[in-house]
């Protein structure tokens, strides 16, 4: 009797260990594997020619889902890094961050006309113009983020943790209404400068659109630059030290307030870049876009392991793919529920996220 119970307990413990280590991976792999298998065995309707559906039995639809998802995910990754940096250093869910991204989109679109960017601009002019837009937008959103930190978070450094959360929400509402007064209440379409929906080339039957390329061309160098900055420079070292233990960092002579400001600057700059990419790629902007993007990016940051930059990128890409799969297979109206369902699954199976370390809070 005792031995039987012992055995059962051992089996249960093994299952729990397995779920802790592999549960999340299995959950994440479930959707693509399932849909890949149905595509292969049952086929899918690729087109309708002369009234007859054309059924394909290959993986190119899945490949297309992945391409679309990864490029969406690149945008989420840029925003998620901002969340993860801020959370890593002052343990605050910066609710205003998604709206900083929205302001980034609006600033970028607002700059096109003064810079003379339009549908008729040549490729060289376009490249220069967009580079200028990118830099100005990043500086704007970065300094705005620093300003928000100075006004709304720094005075509350020693208040209960919920207080800055509420001011963050307050600033989120303020920014949304600035956007509302600036560009009006409904979604607004902007000129498709780069021809985002044009196919650049095709790999194995999967068309790669220009918009997809763009998001990676912007995301990859920025992420590398950021990683270099944090790992190799003195200021980056100060950031890591402050994230580990603000008090000890201060005692070692690090100006923690300046370091936190720097963190907000970097996060805001990446959000601005994401804003530009989003405007170019989606070709419409809306004052409410930041809210949803913020929630998704935050989910991504948690999925990767909050406080971890590589985790944020990975989480962003994964969320993008989940969204894209759900959009095309389950139906776009359920996508949000699917993403948040995954979020809960992560919290249950592996609270520290994919790449995060075990912490006291997430134990």
């Amino acid at each position: 009797m005792v031995r039987a119970r012992d055995g059962a307990a051992r089996v249960l413990a093994a299952i729990r260990r397995f779920a802790g280590r592999w549960g999340l991976i299995v959950a994440l792999a479930a959707l693509p594997v399932y849909y890949g298998a149905t595509d292969l065995f049952n086929g899918y309707q690729a087109a309708v020619v002369a009234g007859h559906p054309v059924i394909h039995h290959d993986l190119s639809k899945l490949g297309f889902n992945f391409a679309e998802g990864l490029s969406d995910g690149a945008i989420w990754a840029l925003i998620a890094i901002g969340y993860t940096l801020v959370y890593g250093i002052i343990e605050l869910i910066n609710f205003a961050h998604g709206d900083v991204f929205m302001i980034g989109s609006f600033t970028a679109v607002g700059l096109w006309a003064p810079l003379g960017l339009g549908l008729t601009t040549g490729p060289l002019g376009l490249a220069w113009g967009l580079l200028v837009t990118l830099i100005v937008t990043m500086l704007t959103t970065g300094s705005m983020n620093v300003l928000i930190e100075r006004v709304a978070y720094r005075p509350l450094r020693n208040a209960p943790k919920l207080a800055p959360l509420i001011t963050a929400v307050g600033f989120s509402f303020i920014l949304q209404n600035i956007g509302l007064l600036w560009q009006g209440g409904s979604a607004k379409s902007v000129p498709d400068l780069i021809g985002a929906q044009t196919t650049a080339f095709t790999i194995a039957g999967v068309p790669i659109l220009r918009g997809y390329l763009l998001s990676f061309i912007v995301m990859i160098p920025l992420v590398f630059a950021l990683t270099w900055f944090i790992n190799r420079t003195r200021a980056g070292k100060a950031m890591r030290a402050t994230a580990q233990d603000p008090e000890a960092a201060r005692l070692m002579g690090i100006n923690t307030n300046a370091t936190i400001s720097l963190t907000f600057l970097l996060g805001g700059m990446l959000a601005g870049a994401a804003g530009l990419v989003y405007a170019l790629y989606q070709t419409n902007i809306w004052y409410f876009q930041g809210f949803k993007a913020g929630l998704i990016a935050f989910t991504a940051a948690v999925m990767g392991g909050i406080g971890n930059i590589r985790g944020a990128v990975l989480g962003g890409l994964i969320i993008g793919v989940i969204q894209s799969l759900s959009d095309s297979r389950i139906g776009p109206q359920w996508t949000e529920a699917v993403v948040f369902g995954y979020l809960i699954a992560i919290m249950v199976l592996r609270p520290r996220g994919l790449l995060g370390e075990e912490t006291r809070e997430a134990g």
Binding site: Y87, E91, I93, V151, A152, P155, L156, N158, A159, P160, K161, L162, A163, P164, I166, T167, V169, G170, F171, S172, F173, I174, Q176, N177, I178, L180, L181, G185, F291, L295, F298, T299, V302, Q333, W334, E336, A337, F340, G341, L343, I344, M347, V348, P351, R360, E361, A362, G363
Partner: protein
């Protein structure tokens, strides 16, 4: 600045010493009387009365969230889920929505003739409490192992999922041509409450609505005060302050947390059910994430963990949002030659208020006694016990 504060604190202490014992009780009775006769001071369906009804219902929700966030210290960002479930209980059990069914229990003669499920308001209120308490526990389950912001994330996710289901419930079939919700069209013509002895609940005379929700507020307030001073209330506070210590002193973690979620959710469900009847429609568009934050702001502005603070926060923000901005100040920008209405930026104003209040008074307007000590202990160190714990403000999670 700090001298000024110290001076103020000194004056307040002196004032509190001189106030007689019965002062608090007298104040409560005065507030009660003002609350009851309030509708006679306004028109029978004025903007102010309408704003007050909504504000009182918000106060009920704020009390519910205060149990979870304030007393038990579990940051819940998905409270809108219980608003939704309460309102849908009202829609499901008190309208023609399930037109294929014919169930009538103790309803008005008018509603008795209509198809669909029609239960008495009180029965639906109880049903919504049960539904929400169960849902609260289900949402609480995955968060038992988590702490702090991670709880916030899970509850947020649940709130959003319930919102998505509410919108898309139109396409979820329950068989027999019936669906789960009516999505953005809304479940419409929800029965007004019916009590044989009272005046009719109509949109022309809003006074009965006010007294109904005021009565609900009093009940919820009473329950809250009793729970706060009970074994359970002390267990919540202990868990909030130090989970490990509380558990090792023998507080049952799972039961205590689950009860916090269930009770908090139940109050939200009551207010939600009332809103379903008052708005006469249950529309998926009502259940946005912003609403969770709105209720949370009430709790925090009032003072986290403070029951009277939660009531004050709910009334204050409810009136600002539903009376002051739309009815009183709406034309303000046009007087300055600006072409927008104040209602279009109400959330911006509201955000601004949140920032101001938090920066100037992070402990809230009516802080709980325990927290007030934490906040002022470094300003006025009058006793040795406060001197002994100088780091009380920086230690706690949340």
């Amino acid at each position: 600045m700090s001298e000024l504060r110290a001076q103020l604190a000194e004056w307040r202490a002196a004032f509190e010493e001189r106030v007689p014992r019965w002062w608090n009780r007298a104040l409560a009775i005065l507030l009660l009387v003002v609350g009851v006769i309030f509708p006679f001071l306004t028109g029978s369906s004025s903007g102010l009365l309408n704003g007050a009804i909504i504000a009182v219902a918000y106060a009920v929700m704020s009390l519910g969230l205060n149990v979870v966030v304030g007393m038990a210290g579990l940051l819940d960002l998905g409270y809108v889920a219980f608003y939704a479930l309460g309102a849908y209980s009202m829609g499901w059990f008190g309208s023609e929505f399930f037109a294929k069914l014919n169930i009538h229990v103790l309803v008005s003669p008018v509603a008795g003739q209509l198809p669909g499920i029609h239960l008495n308001f009180v029965l639906i209120l109880i049903a919504s409490v049960v539904v929400c308490a169960v849902a609260g526990m289900i949402i609480g389950l995955p968060t038992l192992r988590l702490r702090g912001d991670y709880i916030a994330i899970v509850t947020l996710a649940f709130g959003e999922i319930i919102g998505v289901i509410a919108v898309n419930g139109q396409s979820v079939s329950l068989g027999n041509g019936m669906t789960l919700t009516a999505g953005n069209l809304g479940i419409s013509a929800v029965d007004p409450p019916y009590f044989p002895i009272s005046r009719a609940f109509s949109l022309l005379d809003e006074r009965p609505w006010y007294w109904l929700i005021f009565g609900i507020l009093l009940i919820v307030l009473f329950v809250n005060l009793r729970i706060r001073d009970s074994r359970l209330g002390r267990a919540w506070v202990a868990l909030r302050e130090d989970e490990v210590a509380a558990v090792s002193m023998g507080i049952p973690l799972v039961k205590t947390k689950m009860l916090a979620y269930a009770i908090g959710a139940a109050f939200g469900g009551m207010a939600g059910a009332f809103f379903g009847a008052y708005y006469t429609t249950v529309n998926a568009g009502q259940f946005q994430f912003g609403f969770s934050i709105f209720i949370l702001a009430m709790v925090i502005i009032g003072g986290l963990g403070s029951i009277w603070g939660a009531v004050l926060g709910g009334l204050l923000l409810g009136l600002i949002n539903n009376y002051l901005i739309p009815d009183v100040l709406n034309d303000l920008p046009s007087k300055f030659g600006l072409h927008f209405q104040l209602t279009s930026v109400e959330f911006g104003i509201f955000g601004f208020l949140l920032v101001i209040v938090m920066v100037l008074r992070p402990q809230g307007l009516l802080p709980e006694r325990r927290r007030k000590l934490e906040f002022t202990s470094d300003l006025v160190t009058t006793t040795d016990t406060q001197l002994a714990e100088p780091s009380a403000t920086s230690g706690g999670v949340i």
